[in-house]
Symmetry: C2
Subunit: 527 residues, 2 copies
């Protein structure tokens, strides 16, 4: 039995484009003599389509497109994922096409993804497909994760059709899971994933085939379209699988998310506000790499509180990257806003109001640049700041897409060093200086926050590991610091509620994977 | 069998406060000689608690609080809703307390609310409770909606513990549903609801008891805490139920949502930007009514494009309401921003960039006022504008809470007339003039949008009734207009993604009840 697996980049609702890619790979598989070719979960429609899964026109288009694909499948078996409406309920299914005819649908039983639990209903679960006289168990999406499931020695091959999104460490974890499954059931397993960005989600590809001893016999690229044919009857020697590099993978994942956000929305140009700090530097470097320096422009917007090195470092970066930049000081506007409000504020002292004003003036200028030139604002906040609300709503929170919003500050440094691995792209000074918002004289992040290595360690336990305050304190962290961080995390939910879309780089992206009420009694939960 | 129903206003995570209210009503019911007292779904915890339902401390607090309540229930049966963790899965349950001891838990089987489908698992469904020798079927939440369910003539009373949120028309709909259920099963039905605001949700109360002919024998207040005792063995004559007034109910629902948002978050003061238009006038009137005029302040921020009547109408309103106001013209700031960007923009003409600038400057000033005085910005956009993106991101979209974001423009006029029912609070001129954003000379909303009665009719079909483009055209609307509205609706999803929380006044609040991908091929779905 010779099988082909196609790891493709689909676009939600682009039925013509998705069909074109699928049909091209059906033909290629036929030419390569494959008995069957497999495509990812919801390949026909793109995923996650949210409430489009309840849209009659959308569902009809899925069926029409499937019929067109089927017509191209003479002489081969094709298994293609799509959403399907049955009894007024939309399920995630795979159509099994034998020799040009749809012979059956296999539905997903366990809907686990939060992106689907509103919209996808439960179906019957995995089924067998006959390919070249063999029994192939086809499993849709998260059904593969159900541990009780046993193919009872009846399968000659398990094919797992997935749309698995990127998160730190997930590639190695998934491969280990499939390898163990193959070893435990003594049955080869093929993992067929999508690849590509869908707004905040990045499908990482990395489809693979594991032999019955759990050995990797075939592995497709990370973060790129790919395709392979493998003869399951042959002796397939284990291949060497290089270890996954976490920082390199995050870097590639962000790049793919950014690239597809622009490509699939028809955008070309981006703009970034450069502060001289590390976050905006990493964002600008990523944008220049992905979109080309000619499509990225920067604005430096110093105030009277900006230190000399801020503009210098930002200019050095822009010149290293070869992107256009303009320096627009905000001092005059800031003065004008304060003057306008003076009759209202009287002689109340300078406080966080004036700090936020500066950030919001910068937001206003970035959005003006965006409106005038049609360039898309990239947000520059990181996960640590967003978690504790260390940023100005409508100032730091603005943008069409946040590249770093699911990446902790300490990891942003890793990314910066990775970007600098061959030559100094991001000025060393930007990497070395103490982080500061520069909204008042001599301000440092450490005036308001714990040091980032401590903060990140606490936040990681709080967010990714869902640990309570007392658990974290019991692990050795300072009582007051933990409680302070917890309060900041909870009380700044209102800023996250209005945050721009964030590329999801973890299993616990705020606002998506962890939703808290905006109004509740926090203190009761500290005890 | 004498039963008591308690319709109370709970706060999420305020276990002490919730327990206090519950215990007070247990005692009252005992004093009134009731055999049993019933409380709403998730009364102990407040609802919706989202991911707190996976928080160990939160779940422990629920159990502790329940134990404390049980200790107060000597000599009575109490049925109290709470979330409960069983086998690593949180369910929505009711604890049945007999004479001070928890005798069993009844769990919800059908989890239908989108606010719960991530967090609440399926349980076993309704069960019987013996009260005074009778069979009482206790049904949790949406289980009551499952039509196949039949209490098989075995129940003497059905008690439906709910947390039913307000939406236009829902009160009459729910009462009709329960009346029919009682009539069909020939069994009395009691509906026990929560009341109160939880950020964007308003529980409307209106708990009721229906006799076996479907007649209403007891009805509690809308939008207020209430309590009743009823002897189910007595002849309970049908009571007169006044017809629900849709506009009055929306008005009361918004007021309750606003009141509790402030009360439960510990806020006291609000601020509103007054344009002289109808939306901000209605918001200011609501705020003055709910929070007291002394706790509301207004800012008028005219530019060179504002007509004379704008400030005049806004001032007349502020004086009618007795709220403090300041006039801060934005002309100078606007000039300064344009000057600062001039080296970047060169001689590019005035366009939407400069229009948005003005709106964002106003946002900046409102947030400054908010920061300086700790007053909470109330958003003033309506559902029609938000749906088609007729508003500036980070300008019109700002605020802590949107009062009108789920209310169509034509309904905002209804609210304004209702507010003016006794005397002219909102200046007649504000009601009569043509809507305008006044961001360029002579601008009218109708330059960019269909007339609001047409727009709202199309949007209602598109959003609340989920009709496709061709369905709406087939109903007689203009082809081009419908397609234009559809494109505006879809392409402005990115603004809704960053919108502030909106009081939910319909079954189809955008971003909550209808979620669309931010990136997808729109045109394919127009065909």
């Amino acid at each position: 039995m010779k099988i082909a697996i196609a790891q493709l980049n689909y676009t939600i609702g682009d039925f013509e484009g998705n069909r074109g890619k699928i049909v091209e790979h059906v033909r290629r598989a036929k030419k390569d003599g494959a008995h069957a070719v497999f495509f990812a979960e919801q390949a026909v429609s793109g995923r996650p389509a949210y409430d489009l899964l309840n849209d009659v026109v959308f569902l009809e288009k899925c069926n029409e497109t499937l019929a067109e694909i089927a017509a191209e499948c003479k002489g081969i078996t094709a298994v293609v994922g799509l959403p399907l409406q049955i009894d007024n309920c939309t399920i995630s299914a795979a159509a099994v096409i034998h020799d040009g005819k749809i012979s059956k649908y296999i539905g997903k039983q366990n809907v686990m993804s939060r992106d689907e639990r509103y919209h996808i209903g439960h179906s019957k679960g995995y089924e067998f497909v006959r390919v070249d006289g063999k029994n192939v168990a086809v499993v849709i999406g998260s059904d593969i994760l159900v541990p009780e499931q046993d193919f009872g020695g009846r399968a000659d091959l398990v094919v797992s059709l997935k749309s698995s999104r990127y998160a730190r460490g997930v590639i190695a974890d998934r491969h280990e899971f499939y390898s163990r499954l193959a070893f435990r059931t003594h049955c080869p397993v093929a993992f067929v994933n999508q690849v590509g960005g869908q707004t905040d989600i990045v499908y990482y590809g990395s489809s693979a085939v594991f032999g019955k001893k759990g050995e990797t016999v075939c592995q497709l690229n990370n973060f790129q379209e790919d395709y392979a044919v493998i003869d399951m009857d042959a002796e397939n020697p284990p291949i060497h699988v290089p270890e996954q590099n976490k920082t390199a993978n995050v870097y590639e994942a962000v790049k793919l998310g950014l690239k597809d956000y622009f490509a699939k929305n028809g955008f070309r140009q981006a703009c970034v506000g450069l502060s001289g700090g590390i976050d905006s530097a990493v964002v600008a470097a990523l944008a220049a790499e992905v979109l080309g320096p000619e499509n990225v422009r920067a604005l430096m917007m110093p105030s009277q509180f900006s230190s000399d090195h801020s503009v210098e470092d930002a200019v050095a970066l822009a010149e290293n990257l070869g992107i256009r930049y303009d320096i627009v000081p905000i001092t005059e506007i800031f003065g004008q806003v304060r003057e306008a409000m003076a009759p209202v504020f009287g002689d109340m002292p300078f406080d966080v109001t004036e700090e936020n004003m500066q950030s919001r003036i910068r937001g206003l200028l970035m959005m003006s640049l965006s409106n005038k030139y049609g360039c898309v604002v990239l947000n520059t906040s990181n996960k640590s700041e967003i978690a504790v609300g260390y940023g100005t709503l409508y100032g730091d929170t603005i943008g069409a897409l946040s590249l770093l919003g699911d990446i902790y500050k300490t990891e942003v440094y890793d990314l910066a060093r990775y970007i600098n691995r061959k030559k100094e792209v991001i000025p060393v000074n930007t990497l070395q200086k103490a982080p500061s918002a520069e909204l008042r004289p001599e301000q440092k992040d450490s005036d308001s926050l714990p040091l980032y290595d401590v903060l990140d360690a606490i936040l990681y336990r709080m967010i990714e590991e869902n640990q309570g305050v007392y658990e974290i304190i019991a692990a050795g962290f300072d009582n007051d610091t933990v409680k302070r961080v917890y309060r900041m995390f909870v009380r700044n939910g209102y800023k996250r509620y209005q945050f721009c879309p964030v590329l999801r780089m973890s299993t616990c992206t705020m606002r998506k994977d962890r939703i808290l009420p905006l109004t509740y009694d926090t203190e009761a939960l500290m005890m």
